[in-house]
Symmetry: C2
Subunit: 340 residues, 2 copies
């Protein structure tokens, strides 16, 4: 059922059946260390390039998910995936060995939310019984592609974020015991003119603001209705901007907000400046940590809004700014009517 | 209703309400010249880079679509789009000024079919009332990104294809007078080990074979049931391979098959070797030419299967082969039960 311009409330709320996560060495030394299924001790993952390592990260995480969910490829109706590498090759080399119908997405760091949102829509609409959603990012492949070669040893500015080496995968079904995806708010592309690739939090915060404002107003809910309002990878700078922007609109999310990019690293001890970023940031934190919190009842009702910065290095060199997007899901441990 | 592993048949078949198309100068000199809404006389489109020109191509085509369909942005529920540029920036800079919820896709040259397929699924499932699907490609931005700078003047091999400068856009609705999207077959990523970026037809043909085989067997239909079996951009080499592969399986598509990459250029006169390619190839040919043929009754029932090659230049330099995908739609001027 559509509710307003951007939000869909599901008549048959799909259930997140199982998740899996893999992270790199540095992420494994952070505060959420114990939450991930696999922590790599070698960020090359036994491969001879960062790109191949990222692809393996995504493939192994999807395989881990199928193992944990006790399902075969043949039992999976769809796989929805994407990543940050040019032409999403992390994903394509990961899924080519899977005998599963595939839908390729590009939402930059919003991909975990975009894939779970589209999967929920397709499942709720009867187009599939279930789907795997998976995404990844890799610090080394991202630095190489977007900024400087690692060997250059470039100095990072205080607003810069650290791309998470990690992958998250979720298996969503048309039946199950929850947590349930009750609804979703589709984002619009928002560009406020930020052009500093070392301050993507600032570029993405207005997109998160736009989507969360739409979610609150279209569903008639308030920040107090949720145990957690989680953003994907705004980091410390972008999170402050988002909370401030929403506060000016009368939505005080300060007590309920957290951000995967703030949670995955200890910013002071781990020298990551403004926090984590990348498709794998929301992917691994949601699939590694948050899913467990939902399962054990510590979180009952939440929003996850993953944000993506939609530029490339060439477009910035040509004087363009950074467009961004945020997609949001409303997740609850109970099938509830509070959104109707 | 799911039918087999990859195919969905729509209970409420969405209607393709209107289309729009734009092409470059060379495409405007080809056999389909009169079919397109706009033919550019300057492939820079008044911009100062090929990438900005491509973005404008997509934006102007979507605007033309809204003008032809007599709708405002506010009346559009979703826009689904993607392109070949790194991080799909052609799309993002095109849609950032639209006040329309956005879903970003990456399917390489299969994007026109992928976007129309997902839009049809979301509309048929009640998640949206309508959607715009749009994609683009640009010869100059693609050559620069995937192969050689134009200034280098590299010699092209006989199997090489010519990326179409063009854009296609379609407006799909939950009601209308057709043509209707009766069903769709979701592709799998297929990699047969081809690693020659100048022979993408050969890399993509096995993906088209896989999807069309699934479509025929899961729907119980035969090539004879269709007036046209259209592929996206296999070109002359890939088309021959596809027809041969299907023939060996007992599906003789020779009399019914055509390919947008063969149709858009006069291969002999226009020096395009194996034919056209790119997201804009299927986009502009379907939205410019084929939609008119459906509307005037020259085609009553058809398949469109757009193919995409899912590599990037870095992955090929690292010794990888070219994975590919094809997504197929079954389109008819009547709501029919022949698929039930």
């Amino acid at each position: 059922m559509r509710k307003g311009r951007q939000t869909v409330i599901f008549e048959n709320a799909p259930s997140i059946f199982e998740t899996a996560s893999t992270v790199g060495k540095k992420e494994g030394e952070g505060p959420l260390s114990a939450k991930f299924d696999t922590v790599l001790d070698d960020d090359y993952y036994g491969e001879d390039s960062w790109e191949k390592a990222e692809s393996k990260l995504q493939k192994k995480t999807a395989e881990k998910l199928m193992e944990k969910a006790k399902i075969t490829e043949q039992a999976v109706d769809l796989i929805l995936a994407g990543d940050l590498l040019n032409q999403c090759v992390g994903t394509h080399y990961a899924v080519r060995d899977f005998d599963i119908p595939f839908l390729g997405l590009y939402g930059a760091c919003s991909t975990m939310a975009e894939s779970m949102m589209i999967a929920s829509m397709l499942i709720s609409g009867g187009m599939a019984n279930n789907a795997i959603c998976v995404t990844s990012s890799h610090f080394c492949s991202a630095e190489k592609q977007y900024r400087f070669p690692l060997e250059y040893g470039g100095q990072r500015t205080p607003t810069a974020q650290w791309t998470v080496t990690g992958s998250g995968a979720a298996f969503i079904k048309n039946e199950g015991n929850g947590p349930y995806v009750l609804g979703a708010t589709v984002g619009k592309v928002i560009d406020m003119g930020i052009n500093d690739v070392s301050n993507m939090g600032a570029a993405m915060a207005p997109a998160a603001h736009d989507t969360l404002s739409a979610l609150f107003s279209e569903t008639g809910t308030k920040p107090e209705d949720y145990d957690l309002i989680l953003t994907g990878d705004l980091g410390h700078v972008g999170s402050d901007i988002l909370c401030h922007m929403l506060d000016k609109d009368g939505y005080n999310i300060y007590p309920k907000h957290n951000d995967c990019g703030k949670m995955i690293f200890d910013a002071k001890k781990q020298d990551v400046h403004a926090g984590g970023s990348g498709c794998g940031c929301c992917g691994s934190v949601f699939c590694g940590h948050i899913f467990k919190e939902l399962k054990n009842g510590n979180i009952k009702r939440m929003i996850v809004a993953a944000t993506g910065a939609l530029m490339n290095p060439t477009s910035l060199l040509q004087g363009e700014s950074i467009p961004a997007i945020a997609h949001a899901l409303i997740i609850s441990t109970d099938i509830e009517n509070f959104l109707r």
